[in-house]
């Protein structure tokens, strides 16, 4: 009898669990931005990259980006898209050298957005600069205007795309901070891959939130923006340049 009662209790608990679990899961998902809600202007997504932690032979961020966004891999040609690259910077007087991961710097005042004739190049309220593939006409003016060489043009037909990251021949594209992942409360692919190596050279977060680790680090250590002289206020900052 007690066995039977125990069985019924367990069954009821299991059923309740099955019934409630999706609800609990939904509550978790709701913490991410609902897809029909606009991006918040209170947030400014950004990156802090510590070049001293970046390994000379490590390319975890590069391959993660290519894998996530289904970009060309292997031997890269001049026409191939590269959303992130490592620039080897050397001071010829002192001989000091650095590896600097370089991608779209998500400027507060992006020249690519200024020059785009159709408004395809745009900045989301949360600071992410991206290309609307529906209205990009492929004029490449943004590539002329970007000081960071962050944009690539799709020179040939594409196959095997990630449905979340559509790419198409004749349009311009570039790093969008993995906006599809951010909207699911996940980290950009490069940041996640860098953390997985244990180096933790890349930190992602809300630059506007004083409680965020990225904002606190920037408040504590000396960081720099690339080509700060252009006053574009990039959302990507570097430590150890």
């Amino acid at each position: 009898m007690t066995d039977r009662r125990r069985f019924l209790e367990l069954s009821a608990a299991a059923l309740a669990g099955i019934a409630l679990a999706p609800g609990i899961r939904l509550i978790q998902v709701a913490a991410a931005r609902p897809l029909d809600a606009p991006a918040s202007g209170k947030v400014r997504w950004g990156l802090l990259i510590d070049t001293s932690r970046c390994g000379d032979d490590c390319d975890a961020c590069l391959s993660a980006c290519r894998k996530e966004n289904h970009l060309p891999q292997g031997e890269l040609r001049r026409t191939d898209a590269q959303w992130i690259r490592k620039v080897a910077v050397k001071d010829m007087r002192s001989g000091s050298a650095r590896q600097v991961p370089m991608m779209c710097q998500h400027c507060a005042k992006p020249p690519c957005v200024d020059v785009c004739p159709t408004g395809a190049s745009f900045k989301r309220a949360d600071g992410i600069v991206l290309v609307d593939r529906h209205i990009c006409i492929g004029c490449r003016y943004c590539m002329m205007a970007c000081p960071y060489k962050a944009r690539s043009f799709v020179h040939e037909p594409t196959t095997g795309q990630n449905p979340e990251v559509p790419r198409g021949q004749g349009c311009v594209e570039g790093c969008h901070l993995c906006v599809h992942r951010i909207d699911r409360n996940e980290l950009p692919a490069c940041v996640e891959a860098c953390a997985a190596t244990g180096r933790k050279a890349m930190l992602f977060g809300d630059l506007n939130d004083p409680a965020a680790e990225i904002a606190q680090r920037i408040a504590q250590v000396a960081t720099a923006q690339v080509r700060a002289d252009l006053r574009l206020d990039p959302g990507v900052r570097y430590q150890g340049l």
């Binding site: 001049r78 001071d91 020249p111 020059v115 004739p117 408004g119 006409i137 004029c139 020179h155 040939e156």
Partner: protein, 402 residues
């Protein structure tokens, strides 16, 4: 009283259709090149992610800049009241429209998504010089077309002066817009100068006047229509002044850059050790496009020879194309400085001079656009009363005396 009659181009049908067939073949080749680029993508061109604007832009910008300059003769007649040029004003307007059409065709067909032209006409970012240029180009078509109509319609000729003034102001705006496409690129050291707007205006005067003279000389000769040598010599002197002014602006542009340490690298690249760009600058742009035409045009005897004037015009056109190549492609071949003063290398070719070799497709597209412009001029001359029946010394004197 001297009256100048404008008449349709009356060359033999054989010659006319032969000309159209030759130009049509070039247009067809251009169209074929476009279809190839559209189908395979820009991977079949010489352009890449480093040099993003190539040969099509050299042709397109040249034609668009020349278009506004081709209107020069009409402006001189309508706005500055030079009666001798008035009979040539319609040809000037027609050439301006045709060159702009040819240039825009090349620019448009080089887009990554030319099928989205309607998007470019319906979505505007008014902070973009390109978007403003869409209005400047369409406005130029409308104003110059109206101007041409007012000049050709006898009953409305009294309004032509006002339209001519509007066209004159508009062409200055148009070329300011074209020069500013490059001038406002702060990160590219080869550009980044407000001087590019007035420089392009002066270039337009030289290119446009040279093309106008060539078209006038050939069109009149083929139809055995007399044109006063004195008038041609005056136009040639005008061209010489524009060519000299263009050289002056180019000198000031590079001297400013030379003076500022941050531009040392790029200025050295263009003027001294840029290989083909340096050669094209000194031999193409400066010598062939500037000094030799000046010597020909100012020469006391040669300056009056029609052949020498035509040769000078051809040299100005060739030098102009060289100048556009050096400006547009040379400016991109020199790498962006992400870390000024440092040595940079990367898988994305940072810190190195970017190689570029135009593919046949690009050249064919550019030549197709040029042929389109010339075909439009030929058809316009044939069906409209554009070209003066006779424009000899007697008529010019009578016009001036009025």
């Amino acid at each position: 009283m001297a009256t100048v009659t404008l008449r349709e181009w009356n060359i033999t049908s054989r010659r006319y259709y032969g000309l159209l067939a030759a130009l049509g073949a070039l247009i067809a080749l251009g169209a074929y090149a476009f279809l190839q680029m559209e189908h395979h993508g820009h991977v079949i061109t010489g352009m890449d992610n480093q040099v993003v604007w190539g040969m099509p832009h050299v042709f397109a910008v040249f034609l668009i800049v020349a278009a506004s300059g081709a209107l020069n003769v009409a402006s001189t007649a309508s706005v500055f009241g030079k009666a001798a040029y008035k009979p040539l004003a319609p040809l000037s307007g027609l050439l301006a429209l045709a060159l702009l059409a040819g240039g825009l065709a090349v620019l448009m067909l080089d887009l990554g998504r030319p099928d989205r032209l309607v998007v470019a006409m319906t979505h505007f970012n008014f902070k973009s010089i390109f978007a403003l240029n869409v209005f400047l180009y369409t406005g130029f078509f409308a104003i110059v077309a109206a101007y041409l109509w007012l000049m050709l319609e006898r009953r409305l000729q009294r309004h032509a002066r006002a339209a001519g003034l509007a066209a004159f102001v508009w062409r200055l705006l148009l070329t300011t817009g074209t020069g500013s496409i490059f001038g406002f690129l702060a990160a590219r050291e080869a550009y980044d100068s407000a001087l590019l707007a007035p420089l392009f205006i002066v270039l337009s005067l030289a290119y446009g006047t040279a093309l106008f003279l060539l078209v006038l000389i050939v069109a009149s000769r083929w139809d055995a229509r007399p044109v006063s040598d004195a008038l041609l010599a005056r136009l040639a002197r005008l061209l010489a002044i524009f060519v000299a002014a263009a050289l002056y602006f180019v000198a000031v542009f590079h001297l400013t850059k030379l003076y500022m340490a941050r531009y040392d690298g790029v200025t050295r690249f263009i003027l001294l050790d840029g290989g083909r760009y340096t050669a094209l600058f000194w031999l193409g742009q400066v010598a062939a496009g500037g000094l030799i035409p000046l010597a020909l045009l100012f020469h006391p005897r040669l300056g009056r020879s029609r052949a020498a004037i035509a040769a000078a015009c051809l040299l100005v056109v060739g030098g102009g194309l060289a100048q556009m190549y050096v400006t547009i492609i040379g400016g991109q071949a020199y790498p962006l400085a992400l870390f000024p003063g440092m040595q940079e290398t990367s898988s994305f070719f940072d810190g190195e001079i970017h190689p570029y070799a135009p593919s046949a497709w690009e050249v064919l597209l550019g030549m197709g656009g040029t042929a389109l412009a010339l075909a439009l001029v030929a058809v316009g001359l044939r069906v409209l009363r554009i070209l003066p029946e006779r424009l000899d010394d007697k008529i010019i004197d009578a016009l001036e005396a009025k």
